[in-house]
């Protein structure tokens, strides 16, 4: 009887904690959507801000975030996959390899503001790219690299050795084996990792703060050396830095809704890819 009771209490405890977590998530989403949904319209996402940002939309911030994500992808994906392939397929187990792996894992733990300062020192000043969408994109790329490397390596590890042996035994080189069998087979896992990483990077504020994001720019970002607006910073600015905060509050909530929908959309794509892969196996 007593045993049954403890079982029941344990169960209540575990289900209870799960419910609390879901509850908080629900409250946050409800709060943002209920206050922000009314300000989201086609005009909101297709118009620039007007009258000192008290009216109008968020188009430049949206475009800026897309630019940023694109640069991050172009920079982080090839290097990340290359590094993961080297570590998993070529590197022999040694002290050096272990040190490299440990460093990569540690990179993932560095606070994002540090990446911002590093980007300022390296890209903005060191390489003289100035505060620009390129500097900011590269900084976010650095931040994304460790995640992409780790998730790609995990995806490569899941490919059984028998797949590699199949082509090697036919006389394929190791490079052909990786290109023709290992990477295509690991692609869904790699893509999932990339998308989840990018959705995280798209919401980052600290790394772009020093490297190129602007309070307001006239017109849309159209070249790599320009400063830019971005959704997370626009949100931060509207909710804390604007001179008439009360007036722009609905716009801030609207921005939050767009950002959340963007990130959730990316995550949904990742879930879909993973689901499809699981049903295929």
């Amino acid at each position: 009887m007593k045993k049954k009771l403890t079982h029941f209490l344990n169960w209540v405890l575990l289900v209870g904690s799960t419910c609390i977590v879901c509850l908080f998530l629900g409250i946050i989403l409800f709060d943002i959507f209920s206050k922000g949904f009314s300000s989201v319209s086609w005009n909101f996402i297709s118009q620039p801000p007007e009258q000192g940002m008290t009216k109008g939309g968020i188009l430049p911030a949206l475009i800026g975030t897309l630019w940023l994500t694109l640069i991050t992808t172009l920079f982080a994906v090839p290097f990340g996959i290359g590094c993961a392939v080297y570590l998993n397929e070529y590197a022999k187990p040694s002290l050096l390899t272990n040190i490299i792996r440990a460093s990569i894992r540690n990179l993932a733990g560095i606070p994002s503001i540090i990446y911002g300062l590093f980007g300022l020192a390296l890209f903005v000043q060191g390489l003289r790219m100035g505060t620009s969408v390129l500097s900011a994109g590269l900084t976010l790329g650095l931040l994304s690299l460790p995640y992409i490397i780790t998730t790609t390596e995990e995806a490569l590890k899941r490919i059984p050795n028998s797949m590699r042996e199949a082509t090697l035994a036919l006389g394929a080189t190791q490079f052909e084996t990786i290109k023709d069998v290992v990477l295509p087979k690991a692609l869904p896992g790699i893509l999932t990792g990339i998308i989840l990483t990018l959705s995280r990077a798209a919401g980052e504020t600290a790394p772009i703060l020093f490297t190129g994001v602007a309070f307001y720019i006239n017109g849309l970002t159209s070249s790599l050396n320009q400063e830019f607006m971005a959704l997370p910073y626009h949100l931060y600015m509207l909710s804390t830095q604007h001179q008439s905060i009360q007036q722009v509050r609905p716009l801030a909530y609207g921005t939050a809704v767009v950002l959340i929908v963007l990130v959730f959309g990316l995550n949904l794509i990742a879930f879909y890819i993973r689901f499809k892969q699981r049903t295929q196996d």
Binding site: K92, P93, S162, M163, E165, A166, T167, L168, A169, L170, G171, A172, T173, Q174, E176, D180, V181, P184, K185
Partner: protein, 251 residues
Amino acid sequence: MDQIKLSAHSLNLSFGEKQILKNINIDFIKNQVISLIGPSGCGKSTLLRSFNRMHDLSPDAHVKGTLKLDNLDLYDKNISVTEIRKRIGMVFQKPNPLPKSIYENLSYGLNIHEFPKNEIPDLIEKALKESYLWDEVKDELKKPAVKLSGGQQQRLCIARTVVLRPEVILMDEPCSALDPISTGKIEELIMSLKKDYTIVIVTHNMQQAQRISDKVAFMYLGEVIEFDSTENVFKNPQQELTRNYVGGHFG
């Protein structure tokens, strides 16, 4: 005079500190089927895989001794390993078709070895016929190979090896994951391939070894204990160990 196709002399192989093969001396005759038998862990697969240099990727594997295909030293530094693997094909324990269509599973090897494009369709048809698979798949060559049954997949893996016209085919327990009917088909296939290829097969199935092989090598703890005609090994073994093993007393 029988021609020696594949041979190992004074072969010692170790993984790190652990010695797996001890002073192996063995010659395989052309156009014969040779079975390697012995208890698990005796080094059969390791020996088999040393002929097409599948140990190259294990950094702690050390191979000493001379392995030859005809007069070609397989571990010569100037020989390309991809060329060796083209001449010595391999079929694995678990069917491992490439994640591509049936047709592409066969065209893959042809393409990487740069066979003339216009010959490829005929070569593929011929290899599928030789592997007794053509009639079952000829209408669905574009189908993903993983959709085939286990037995069909294994015959596809054999066809994929055969299409490159190797000289030797190594088989590592090719029937262990298959049902008796599929096994029968593969055995029939092996017997028919013998006229063109030299086949070395690792098997745990004593009946299979007796049915298909010309010669049998019994291995134990990394050594070849007895290597003789199938009949002698099973009916009149010279060594006590062999007698106990084929008699089913251990293993």
